[in-house]
Amino acid sequence: MEFLLKYLKFRRKVIFAFFICFILLLLSFALYHLPLMAVVYPMGLFCLGSILFTAVDVYRTLQKHNKLVQLQSLTAELIDEMPSIETQEDEDYQAIIHLLRDEQAQLKNRMELRYADMMDYYTTWVHQIKTPIASMRLNLQNEDSEFSRKVAEDLQRIEQYVEMVLAFLRLDSESTDYVIRRYDLDEIVKSVVRKFSTQFIRRKIRLQYEPLHTDVITDEKWLSFVVEQVLSNALKYTQNGTISISMEQPNTLCIRDTGIGIAAEDLPRIFDKGYTGYNGRSDKRASGIGLHLCKRICNNLGHTIKAESAPGSGTVIRIGLDQSKMELE
């Protein structure tokens, strides 16, 4: 019905012209005093013809309209079959669409090239920077002083930021490789913990590690990244005390600290991008990206991540390792 009204509206000029002609004809016939039948009969035929013609036109316009509506739901690349050209306007509009499509394709191509270039460069950069880091780390291991430990700790932080760049670039990119299989969770967590050994020891923070004895189906690198971020936060916001790592049922890795905690109003938003909260704002290094990446990685892996905290007494991060949403490919 809506279509019919619109049809009448768009064709109002033709319909108006038709009525004008009709009235003019009737008028001139009347003025010539032609016999009534001689007028009514051809006029009736004429009207019938017009109605038939209009009906066919309505049907065809509706068909074309439906087809165009269908095209609207497609992306630019997929639009290649246009309805047949019937008017000059059709032709012009279709020419414009073709131009826009080409332009968009070119733009997309260029963006993809630039993106690939950028990815290439950053990946190279990350590998470049890892060599001096490796060199410094090896040399620092031959040292044994408060100074070397402080430097080693900072170096570890640099390393972590480098990993974050890589994760940020790779997450959701098409070239990301996931190696989903069964891993020993202890292996993953322990290797992350080892990275932080200098920091734990230097700052005299106790680690309470309960063997996890759990196999998880996950991607080792990505899960390691998440655990690393969480542990790094725990260390950052704990001045003295204990960080404990344990398993909770069902299948949840639990990282608990006795740090400053997170304010209740910040808690719901700590996984948002760029959100730093009170703790982050007082610590200028916070970028608000780490936990956001964790959340997205967990989503991709089919894991969950949740925070619970009481300001002043500590924070618990729970990583649910079940594969509820994951479809194995």
Binding site: K130, D144, S197
Partner: protein, 224 residues
Amino acid sequence: MKYRILIVEDDRGIAEAIEKQLAMWELEARCVWDFRAVMNEFSAFDPHLVLLDISLPLYNGYHWCNEIRRISKVPIIFISSASDNMNIVMAINMGGDDFIAKPFDQSVLMAKIQAMLRRSYDFGTVSPIFEHRGAILNTGDNTLTYNNSKIELSKNEYRILLALMESQGKVVSREKLMERLWETDSFIDDNTLTVNVNRLRKKLENAGLKDFITTKFGVGYLVG
């Protein structure tokens, strides 16, 4: 006889740090500096194991791995910062035996080298000899030999003694010792270290090695 290890790594800092560590473990190491003549160096040195970086000047590590594989079955361990799965698969397919991602810990590298040598060659022990006052630390089976008797050591005790005997005559800080224990997943704290050291001391004392470990207050411990 000493095992010979060839280091093909273009970053001097890393190559030299590895060389130093290998020397400490009584392994003979040589670094390649002329990356056009890796094969000459290889033939001349005839190593028992090759450490190979992937990104090198001129040709990459895969190329040299291929070249080496043409003439030798020597174990090859790749060391690279490009630790994507693709690279690891590639390295192993090209004939590499293991892959270590940079940045790595010295202890990890040493453990992998030792394991590889143990598997590949069966002559003699790979282990270096750490000796003090006639007591010999056996790196193969976590024991200490003194006066023809073997003293069994726990994992932590062994690691502590190893760290101390590796740098004989130098004070090893408590932090360093703890770090060494953390490397093998003993996430101990200060108090536990004290307990471990005291227990070790008692063991040594019972075997006739009184004051084998000297305490430097506020710093750490010393052997020698």
